[in-house]
């Protein structure tokens, strides 16, 4: 089965979802991502959904779960690139995606990630 690629960029993980995901693929993404956060000790996760023409309650729940799981693993998550039609539909659907930080594009998303990572964990031992 195909898997969605996860790129490592320094202490961040970048995921670009470009296919119409079936449920099993979404679940395997969740598994792969949490696994990689641990193995790479990533501090931030950026999920690019700019190619998604639709986000339903299952995918919305997946994003919220990824954000929550990452936080438990001491990483911040930002979802970027939500399309207007998708956002309007999610509002109509009544899905708030509480707990998921969003940004308009990858650049803004990275800025947000940096700020959030800096803003917490100042008692962590600094990395070289």
């Amino acid at each position: 089965m195909e898997r969605i690629p996860i790129l490592k960029m320094g202490q961040y993980l970048l995921v670009t979802i470009q296919v119409d995901m079936h449920d099993r693929l979404a679940m395997s993404l969740q598994d792969d991502l949490t696994g990689k956060i641990v193995s790479t000790r990533a501090k931030g996760v950026l999920i690019d959904i700019s190619a998604l023409e639709m986000v339903d309650s299952f995918i919305g729940r997946m994003l919220a779960d990824i954000a929550a799981m990452s936080r438990v693993l001491d990483a911040e998550t930002v979802v970027v690139g939500m399309r207007p039609a998708v956002a309007i539909t999610l509002v109509e659907l009544g899905l708030s995606l509480a707990g998921v930080k969003t940004a308009l594009n990858v650049e803004r998303g990275m800025e947000l990630l940096r700020r959030r990572i800096e803003g917490r964990g100042t008692d962590d031992a600094g990395t070289a």
Binding site: D20, M21, H22, D23, R24, E53, M54, V55, D56, S57, F58, R61, P84, A85, V86, I88, T89, E92, L93, G94, L95
Partner: protein, 134 residues
């Protein structure tokens, strides 16, 4: 009301759910829906198709292009012969508050559609019909 086109799709695997999203999108575009309305009906279809698969044990979708007076619409009928739902109203209310898949999918699909009807009998199955007008 006159039916302009009719298509049937199986719902047996999660790949079928993906195929259904694409088929519904395609038909919606053909019927001239704008982007937001397309997205709404595709999302509703995804919710209901998933319900049919996960809770209904698999089933079918019938897509129909319909016409009522001057307006055109897309009618989707999801049917399964699964366990059925004992109390639909409760499921939809609960689903919304607890985030349970079945109820959430049903209430979500209703919010995204212009018309929504559900017929479910425990032990026999469930049929959900939604319509979105252009």
């Amino acid at each position: 009301m006159p039916v302009l086109l009719s298509e049937q799709k199986p719902i047996e695997t999660s790949e079928d759910v993906v195929a259904i999203r694409q088929a519904v999108r395609h038909r919606a575009i053909e019927l001239g829906f704008n982007l937001v309305d397309q997205t709404k009906i595709v999302t509703a279809a995804s919710e209901l198709a998933r319900n049919t698969l996960q809770y209904g044990g698999g089933g079918t979708l019938v897509l129909e292009g319909v016409q009522d007076g001057g307006r055109k619409g897309l009618r989707l009928t999801f049917e399964d012969h699964g366990p059925g739902i004992a109390d639909v109203q409760l499921a939809m209310k609960d689903g919304y508050t607890t985030g349970n898949g079945l109820g959430l999918g049903l209430s979500g699909a209703r919010r995204l559609s212009n018309e929504f009807t559900i017929d479910s009998r425990p032990g026999e199955g469930t049929r959900v019909t939604i319509v979105r007008w252009r």
